[in-house]
Symmetry: C2
Subunit: 343 residues, 2 copies
DNA sequence: CTACGCTTTTGCAGCGCTGCAAAACACAGC
DNA sequence: GCTGTGTTTTGCAGCGCTGCAAAAGCGTAG
């Protein structure tokens, strides 16, 4: 394999210094048109391509951002990632992906001072079990944007929707349909993450706002927000003496699992039990029945996260850590209204 | 921000040369226990972390592999990616992800000689529209493993299941259930990729093997293998004078879309129309009904792809390009048998 | 003609590590 | 004590680029 073409080779051919070639390649301002043309010709003739590794070392940055999610195969995350990758590419950044399987140790390692530092210039992080201690111990020189779980302590940005308000909206929707025995699937009272608790709070607030009291035995905890957990929780609910007539699921996957259980027991959604989900993943638009859900603006979450992270990376003094709220809306589909709805 | 600790700093403290520190850090053999200990102590005391960028430049490799998929939010790919990331991490490689949106130009750019070369040491590529020309023009110094579409020309490895045999098995399953008007959704007769054609071939072979002739008007082409395409194709089929009594869908997503259409027209699956899918994604294990499907061994596909790629990266002379076949099996669920089946 | 300020180009050091080959050391045998 | 062999350590160059500061060029004013 013959040696790669370097800046020096181009410089020699063009009869200028290698620094000038660098200036041309990087589009710096102060280069005369004549020089630029001459260099460009040499670049083209030799087929020169900058060596990214060398540039990285010289600049002390990698041009990469890492995105860390618990599970890559969760549709919510893969849909989000898709937008993150697009947004990053627009700014010339590559995206390195890692999944933690929700393992707190792994999560902690990722933002601690680590050997992988410098491999990425910043991190967009969607933690599950990250506790305050891990956040406090983290590498503070590493630009960080957190999605979902943790409120900002001022040293990083947090992007997400207002979970309490969204959950309240979802629950009120069920109440307003006339349902009175409403279950909630997905609480995690002992988790270090906060998203589940915020949803439960919204669930309670909705009841309070309508002068109702939620039944505690209908609030079901699950380890994760996936289909099997939703299916299991629903089985438990159906085995109660007085099963619910509606369920607020903390993710669409949970809703899909719950619906599966309901249907396989010969009950109907929404006639017997209305179900509402959270996330608005594509599955819910094609399932039987289609799922009413809270739809966060994922595109905005992704672009906001990337923009803030790049700002953090490029700015001299670290900008203040912000709480950034993306909009969300309630999308009514068959699983609560029974009406066939447009996708 | 204070300067990072370098090899030289450690060397100074330990009273050895920086090269020796490097040897210790990298676990080379010929270092006496005494020296190793002394150096290790210095490393710990200073909290030294190797600078990945510098190492990359010196070694001329990045320790990263790129995985290129058409759509990240397609469950088949995200499930596969999950396994690829795990397998790569075991060998100390990071995974850079890119999605092409199926754009042939983007796909071509990725394997052509490019400025991003050196950012990754090899590529695992799942192309959609890559043609022979693009493959021929590619950067041949870039280790490459292709998933799915393209058979190997000997200069790269190809990992996948036997699509013809799998499709034949799927179709025979429908025939053996007594169905005679069997449709196929997902053909792409003019695509540059080969997967769709191979599935259609298996579909035809199954008919031939049973002494039947497939009805051409029941073989439906779709631009992609997703839910909306499946739903649309099914609408077309139901509008025919003689609709099918079974459908072989070229992906589970297509099957989900098709089932959605069937159910929303008031028909039943499988009583009126049996549906079989392809890929065995989690959605199909929780949908209503659950989906009978061809289940490729994704874990094996992922680990095989990573192993072969790393072999290609590390070996002196390029190994021969192989055709590697992963096993698959037929998983019977409700959408064809009507029986409630274990997950 | 010289001085001055501005634009363009250059030279060099150095980012922090590893490859290579030579040097130093250790030990055994004569 | 000296030689030879094998092990351990070292020094240096260099990966290919960019930051920095100095040098060169260039035009205008005095």
């Amino acid at each position: 394999m013959r040696r790669e073409v370097t800046l020096r080779d181009v410089a020699e051919l063009a009869g200028v210094s290698s620094r000038t070639v660098s200036n041309v390649v990087n589009g710096y301002a102060n280069v005369t048109e004549r020089t630029r043309e001459r260099v460009q010709r040499a670049v083209d003739e030799l087929g020169y391509r900058p060596n990214v590794l060398a540039r990285n070392l010289a600049q002390g940055r990698s041009g990469q951002i890492a995105v860390v999610v618990p599970y890559l195969d969760t549709p919510y995350f893969s849909e989000l990632l898709q937008s993150v990758i697009r947004a990053a590419r627009v700014s010339g950044y590559n995206v390195l992906i890692d999944q933690t399987d929700g393992d707190p140790e792994h999560e902690r390692a990722f933002i601690a001072h680590g050997s992988r530092r410098l491999l990425f210039d910043g991190v967009i992080f969607s933690p599950l079990g990250l506790d305050q201690q891990a956040l406090a111990d983290r590498d503070r020189t590493l630009p960080l944007v957190i999605l979902g779980e943790r409120a900002s302590d001022g040293s990083f940005d947090h992007v997400g929707i207002d979970d309490v308000a969204a959950s309240r909206l979802a629950t009120e929707h069920l109440i307003d349909l006339g349902r009175r025995r409403i279950a909630a699937i997905g609480d995690q009272p002992y988790a270090t993450g906060e998203a589940a608790q915020r949803r439960t709070r919204g669930f309670r607030e909705a009841h309070a706002a309508r002068g109702l009291t939620p039944r505690e035995e209908l609030i079901i905890s699950t380890p994760r927000f996936n289909r099997p957990d939703g299916a299991r929780a629903m089985e438990h609910l159906l085995d109660l003496a007085e099963p619910p007539d509606a369920v607020f699921c903390y993710s669409d996957l949970v809703a899909l699992g719950a619906i599966r259980t309901i249907v396989s027991r010969g009950l109907r959604v929404p006639e017997d039990i209305a179900v509402i989900g959270y996330d608005d993943i594509e599955d819910g638009r094609f399932s039987n029945p289609t799922i009413t859900t809270i739809s966060p603006d994922k595109e905005m979450i992704a672009t906001t996260a990337v923009d803030r992270l790049l700002l953090r990376i490029t700015s001299e003094s670290p900008p203040p850590g912000l709480e950034l709220r993306a909009p969300f809306k309630l999308v009514e589909r068959e699983s609560t209204t029974g009406r066939v709805s447009p996708r």
